[in-house]
Every structure is written in structure tokens, then in C-alpha cells.
């Protein structure tokens, strides 16, 4: 089949993905027409925030980080970043934040005119310290309420300590009171449970889809995971997300049954660490797929396959959102990678040293050493940026990747 020889084999569900995401942004765009009359405020939310609580109040959520990725993929980030830089936000800051701020300051140069202005902001610092500063800027700019969920970093090995879970739970209660006031709606524990169940269902479906990549050949390559991650980020806790991932799962299962390979002639199975290099999503991975190297698993998209803790809903929300992988110490991240390498029979791993994202990246060299020591599997560090094209040195990256693949070949 001719499609099989292509370096990238798109999923049929991609069409639906496009429609789903377009619908999401369309709803956001026209929110000002329907939001007020229906008393459904619009929130800008960080990707690791407990949105299920917002859903209880009928709040519509949009994700500046996802918008940053959209700008990156559309290769529209540079002028937006520069706009933020002109206003004093230095080039070393996270490029999602710079893109978003650029779009806030100059919507006329932003894809789709930027995001619609928020009625409230929700920042959860379980992914980084950047979001706190970024959302402070937004709160000063828009003069709308800012809700912060402070999830203490899990420095030890045993998961979030009890006093941290209590602390987060207390803040969630406080946020609920604030949202009751803001929306005029009463909180419903039953509704929260419903939304949580929808979220967990999506998380389970996502996990199942990922695990199908343990098959040889793998039915998916990493660009698939990155693209199809969007609904879990922006639509967690909704029926729409569940329907979407059911469909995706069915298609991936079908690929497995038919033995369809994401990368034809799969020779090497690789693991990816960090966010995608969005402007080079296909070009970068093509360098690998041309040599028969398929990224069968990654740590970033896997971040959404969180561990579920049953029990009292608020406690479970507090525990899950505090324990996400970016909020955990090195031992957790090393363990996770070693496990993935074993479970997915990985031959090598590539770490995107992402200048934008310090919590993800600064620790990678130490992780690389320890993972290789534990598994014997080699790892390559490639410096770039998830959206800012200025941080990507094409030739240098190509040479390093080629050398890495050659080294894999000679093993």
C-alpha cells in the first residue's frame, strides 16, 4: 500500500480531531454571545488545573498553553513572542507564555485573533512556577479574579504527603466557595463526581491507546500522540472527550489487528522526553522515521495518563493533581522512564532539552545518566524549543540525530 511507505501515516480520526478542536475554539470565540445569557463564564486555565471543579459550575475553559502549541504548529509563534519581548518579557521565558501574551497585546497578528478575554483565571502550579507569574500578568491585565491552586512540590519518594493533600483540599474548598459567588450556582458533589468519572474514563482510554503501542510494530508514532493529546487537555471531564477517545481507540485497535505500522519497517523503538518541537513536528520526526525509528512512547503525553485515586472526590482531586509527574522529584521521573523503556521494549531515548520549560528540562542530563545506567539504553539530548524557532539549529540537530541512529544501528 502506498501510504505505508510514507514516513507518516495519518489516522482517520485526525479529521475528527480537527473538527473537535475547531468546535472548541469556535465556542470560545463566540462565548461572548452565549456565555453571559447562559451565565457561563469563560476561564483561562493552566493545563494541570483541576477543571472538573470548574465544569460543575458550567464554566467554559480555554487553555493558553494549548493555544501556544497551536501557534507553534502554525509557525506563528515568532512575531507573538517578539511582541512580548518588546514589552520587556525576556526571550528566556517560556514561549507558550510569550506567545499568549503577544496575542493578548496584539490580537490582530495572532491566529484566530487570539483567545477571547477571560472572566476568570485559574492557575495550578503543579507544572511549573512560570504559570504563577504568567497568570499574575494576565490578572493585572484583565483585572479579573485569579484563583491559584498551590500544589506543593513532591520532593520525597512517597508521593504527596498528607499535610500537602490537606492543604490542597482546603484550597479547592475555598475555590468552590469563590466560584459559587462568581457564578451564582451552588456546588454539587454529585456533579463533580460525574465529571471526575468522565475524566477518569478519558484517562483510561488514553492509557489503553498508549499501551497498544507496546505491539510490534507500533500502531502509532509520537506525532500522533502529540496531535491527539489536545482533547484530553482541553476537554477533560466532558462526554465529548470520552466519545472522541473511544473512536480513536477503535482505530488504533484496528491498526494493531491488521498489523499496520506507524513507521513502515520499524527497526528501532524509541522513547521521547519533553514537549514536542511544534513547528517541526513532522520534519523532525521524519529524520527518525526514514531510518525506521518509531517513537512508541513518551513522557509528555503520558503525563495525562495519571494514576487515579478512588475515594472522597475532593481528596482524590487534591492527590491526583499534586502528584502529577512534573510536580514530582527525579526518582519518580527516572522510575517512570525505566518502566516505560522496559514495558515498550525501547532501544533508545531522545530528550528534548526545551529552553522554554525549565522544570522539565534542567534535570534531564541527570535523568539521562541514571536511566542509561539502569537500563543500558542510550539517550540523546537535543536542545531546542517547543515553539520558538530561534532556538532550533537545524544542521546541528540533524547531525546529532544521525550520529545517534548510527550508534543504535551498530549496537
Amino acid at each position: 500500500m502506498s501510504t505505508k511507505t510514507k514516513s507518516y501515516l495519518p489516522l482517520k480520526t485526525t479529521g475528527q480531531l480537527r473538527r473537535t478542536m475547531e468546535k472548541h475554539y469556535l465556542f470560545a470565540r463566540y462565548h461572548r454571545w452565549w456565555g453571559r445569557p447562559l451565565k457561563k463564564p469563560l476561564a483561562w486555565v493552566t493545563s494541570g488545573a483541576p477543571v472538573e471543579i470548574l465544569r460543575v459550575f458550567g464554566i467554559y475553559t480555554v487553555y493558553p498553553e494549548n493555544y501556544g502549541a497551536v501557534c507553534g504548529t502554525a509557525r506563528a509563534s515568532l512575531p507573538l513572542c517578539q511582541e512580548a519581548e518588546n514589552r520587556g518579557y525576556v526571550q528566556d521565558l517560556c514561549s507558550y507564555a510569550r506567545s499568549n501574551l503577544g496575542a493578548v497585546f496584539r490580537p490582530e497578528i495572532a491566529p484566530a485573533g487570539g483567545l477571547p478575554a477571560p472572566d476568570l483565571l485559574v492557575a495550578c502550579n503543579n507544572i511549573c512556577g512560570t504559570v504563577l507569574k504568567w497568570y499574575e500578568v494576565l490578572a493585572r491585565h484583565y483585572r479579573v479574579p485569579l484563583f491559584i491552586i498551590d500544589t506543593p512540590f513532591v520532593a520525597g519518594n512517597g508521593g504527596p504527603p498528607a499535610h500537602a493533600v490537606d492543604y490542597v483540599q482546603g484550597q479547592l474548598r475555598e475555590m468552590i466557595t469563590g466560584l459559587e459567588k462568581l457564578t451564582g450556582r451552588r456546588f454539587s458533589a454529585a456533579s463533580l463526581e460525574r465529571h471526575l468519572l468522565l475524566s477518569w474514563e478519558v484517562v483510561e482510554l488514553w492509557r489503553e491507546i498508549r499501551y497498544l503501542c507496546r505491539n510490534r510494530p507500533s500502531p502509532l508514532n509520537i506525532p500522533d500522540m502529540f496531535l491527539h493529546l489536545a482533547p484530553i487537555v482541553v476537554m477533560r471531564g466532558t462526554k465529548g472527550a470520552v466519545a472522541y477517545y473511544r473512536k480513536l481507540l477503535a482505530e488504533v485497535k484496528e491498526r494493531v489487528q491488521k498489523g499496520v505500522a506507524a513507521v513502515s519497517g520499524e527497526k528501532y523503538r524509541l522513547l521521547w522526553d519533553n514537549i514536542a518541537i511544534w513547528p517541526r513536528l513532522f520534519g523532525f520526526f521524519k529524520t527518525f522515521s526514514e531510518k525506521g525509528a518509531c517513537f512508541v512512547v513518551d513522557t509528555y503525553a503520558g503525563g495525562w495518563a495519571v494514576e487515579i485515586f478512588p475515594g472522597e472526590p475532593l481528596e482524590s482531586v487534591a492527590r491526583i493533581y499534586t502528584g502529577i509527574f512534573l510536580n514530582q522529584g527525579i526518582a519518580y521521573r527516572v522510575r517512570d522512564m525505566v518502566r516505560l523503556i522496559e514495558e515498550f521494549a525501547v532501544d533508545g531515548f531522545v530528550m528534548h532539552s526545551n529552553r522554554s520549560c525549565k522544570p522539565y528540562s534542567l534535570i534531564q542530563e541527570e535523568i539521562r545518566r541514571r536511566v542509561t545506567a539502569a537500563t543500558g539504553v542510550p539517550g540523546l539530548l537535543v536542545e531546542a524549543d517547543m515553539t520558538d524557532p530561534r532556538a532550533y539549529a537545524e544542521e546541528q540537530v540533524r547531525t546529532r540525530v544521525q550520529a545517534f541512529l548510527e550508534a543504535l544501528q551498530s549496537r
Binding site: 502550579n125 512556577g129 485569579l146 541514571r370
Partner: protein, 373 residues
């Protein structure tokens, strides 16, 4: 080369400065009988380790920073410099204490545990200081940290010892506050070096020396009542300043630092711990009401209001925001602070530095800024 003026040679202040200027590897020899406990961020609860028989020693990066193996180049020189020292074995200490602050420190603390000292501890104070339950969480986090430290120290954390440590540190904080008051007529480098030294030398020693040194300094430097008028009075704000070169340059350009709002300056020692009541709760309470740090949230305008008030109370003519390359929290704040300060009629200047020492270009720019005042 030392940064402090000739007049202090042979005084008690000289003794403290000389002790703190030694490389970390000589710390034990200089202070025999003391068990050093290195720590990295001023949120680290010094009193806990003091009550367990250690001496807190602030770790600061060397003046020249190379490339440590485990951190990329797009990382601040504080983290890179410290790690380089650690990797090279020039910080021969048995443990280390980190306080969760920025993403960079978070990563460094994790690397440190595996690459430098296994007995590394991380204190995770609240980030949203006004959050519901922040005080209680902070006290419980201190108690949990105390239990971990007990295991390594082989001692029990006793309330009496903790209370004594709090008293000792409070005494030092009061002396440093007094030193900060002397800034208008004290060379800026000297004040900065003394504040830094008091974070490196044993606390009791620092307190004892400062007690004797402050009157000496008053005799040496006060007197010229007209002196403050001959200088441009500036406030400096920023992250860690491991050396006093910037202060020296400002003096050279005719400015005097009347307040040092850096992590190694007044932000480190401002605010006392309540000596009555439960010590852990008192430590937690201080943690929550310290001068605003960009890594924590105290409301949208807290740091601007604080700097405006500081500038006003010190009669400062300008605020210099020191921005270290790759330091995200300070880079974020620099934008709104500059706008806010200028909007309130206080000239503000963002000084971008690779480390803590300004070069020729920075000198020219600073000079131009100061001339415009």
C-alpha cells in the same frame, strides 16, 4: 580581592569578613567544633538545623562560573556555579538544605541529592502565601522536615533548643537591621559584604562580632553628616548577589545603596520570629510574612507596594532591578515593577547581568541612568 574599605582592616568587622571570604573547603578549619550545614535559599529554616547541632552555611556560587556537567547553558549562574562546585568536590559537606523557590532551584535540589550529597533535604513552603491553610501547612511541613533531619543528625529536635536558635537568629537579624539603617553613611560594599558574611559564618560568632563591630563602624564612617547628600540614593532589588562588585561600581558612579532588597540582603534577615508560643508555628508565621519574593504570591501588587514603600522610607531616588540571565521569577516581575515604579514617579532601571558582576557595558548604561536622575 577584597571589596571592603581600608579603614576596616584590623577591626572586628574585618574578622567576620575575612572568615566568610575563605573557600568553603576551609570552613571547618576556620571554625573547628562546628558542624556545617549548607543551604541554598533564604527560606531554608536555619533554626531547625541549629537546634539539631548544625551551623547553617549559605552556599553561594563562585565569582567565575564554568559549565557543570549536569545543567544546560540556559540556566542561571547561581545554580550552575553551585553545582559546578559541588561536582568538583569543593563543597565538602555531609548534607544540604534546599527550599522550594523557583523551577531552577527545584531541579538543582533534585540533581544535588544524586550528584553531590545524598542527605539533601527540601523544605517546600507554600507558594500562595495567602492561601487558605497556608500557615498550618507550613508548620506541618516544618515538623515533617524536622523529623527527617532528626534521623540524619542522630538528635532529637527539642523545643528548648529550637527556642534558643530562634533567639540567637533574632538577635542577629536585629543587628543586621541596624546595619541596614547605617547604609546611608556606610560604604555600600561593606554593608553588602557584612550581610553576606553573616550568612556564612556561625551565627553566634557573627552576632558577637557585629555587636562589637557596629559601634566601631559608626566611629569610622559616620561623622560626615553631609555625606549622604553627595550620593545618589538607590535601592537594589534582585535575586542572589554573591559578591559586592555591583555595589562597588555604584559607589564609583556616585550612588549609594540605601537598601539591598536581594535574596542575600534584607530579604534574608528582615522580620523576626515570634519568641513566645509554639516555635514551629512561629517559624511558619515568619515564612508567610517575609518581604515579597517573586517566587511566591502575596497578591498582585505586594512587591511593587513593598518597593515603593522601601524607596520612600529610605529617601531613595531610584530602584535598580538586578536581573540575572535565565532567572525567570525576577524577569517576570521586572516588567510590572518597572512600569509601576515609574508610574509612581520612582525611576527604575533593569540591570541585566550574567552573574553578579557588571562589566563595561553595564557600567556605561548605569552611568547614563544615574546621570539622568
Amino acid at each position: 580581592m577584597n571589596n571592603w574599605p581600608r579603614q576596616v582592616v584590623g577591626t572586628r568587622a574585618d574578622e567576620l569578613l575575612a572568615a566568610a571570604a575563605l573557600p568553603y573547603s576551609q570552613w571547618r578549619d576556620r571554625f573547628p567544633g562546628h558542624r556545617p550545614f549548607p543551604y541554598f535559599c533564604s527560606y531554608w529554616p536555619e533554626e531547625l538545623v541549629m537546634a539539631l547541632g548544625w551551623e547553617p552555611v549559605r552556599v553561594l556560587p563562585p565569582a567565575k562560573v564554568g559549565t557543570p556537567a549536569r545543567l544546560p547553558t540556559y540556566c542561571c549562574t547561581v545554580a550552575r556555579g553551585c553545582l559546578e562546585e559541588g561536582e568538583a568536590g569543593r563543597l565538602p559537606f555531609e548534607a544540604a538544605g534546599f527550599a522550594q523557590s523557583c523551577d531552577t532551584m527545584q531541579c538543582l535540589s533534585q540533581i544535588w541529592r544524586h550528584a553531590v550529597a545524598e542527605n539533601s533535604f527540601t523544605f517546600v513552603p507554600p507558594v500562595d502565601l495567602g492561601a487558605a491553610g497556608a500557615l498550618r501547612y507550613c508548620a506541618e511541613e516544618l515538623a515533617a522536615l524536622g523529623r527527617q533531619l532528626e534521623q540524619v543528625s542522630g538528635r532529637t529536635l527539642e523545643t528548648g533548643a529550637l527556642a534558643r536558635a530562634i533567639k540567637l537568629n533574632n538577635r542577629l537579624r536585629k543587628l543586621l537591621a541596624k546595619l541596614e539603617e547605617m547604609r546611608p553613611w556606610l560604604p555600600s560594599t561593606l554593608a553588602a559584604e557584612l550581610e553576606r558574611a553573616a550568612q556564612i559564618a556561625p551565627r553566634a560568632f557573627s552576632g558577637e562580632v557585629l555587636e562589637a563591630a557596629l559601634p566601631e563602624l559608626e566611629r569610622l564612617f559616620k561623622g560626615d553628616e553631609d555625606l549622604p547628600r553627595r550620593y545618589r540614593r538607590v535601592v537594589v532589588s534582585g535575586a542572589v548577589l554573591e559578591g559586592a562588585d555591583l555595589f562597588g561600581l555604584l559607589e564609583e558612579l556616585g550612588a549609594r545603596v540605601v537598601a539591598d532588597d536581594s535574596c542575600t540582603g534584607r530579604r534574608h534577615f528582615a522580620g523576626l520570629v515570634d519568641e513566645d508560643g509554639d516555635p514551629l508555628e512561629a517559624l511558619a508565621a515568619r515564612c508567610l510574612r517575609r518581604p515579597p519574593c517573586p517566587c511566591r504570591h502575596q497578591g498582585l501588587d505586594a512587591r511593587l507596594d513593598y518597593l515603593l514603600e522601601l524607596a520612600r522610607s529610605k529617601g531613595a531616588e531610584a530602584v535598580i532591578l538586578v536581573l540575572r540571565k535565565y532567572c525567570d521569577p525576577h524577569a517576570w516581575d521586572a516588567v510590572y515593577l518597572t512600569e509601576g515604579l515609574r508610574g509612581a514617579g520612582v525611576p527604575a532601571y533593569v540591570l541585566e547581568l550574567e552573574g553578579a558582576s557588571p562589566g563595561g557595558q553595564e557600567k556605561t548604561r548605569l552611568q547614563a541612568f544615574l546621570e539622568c536622575l
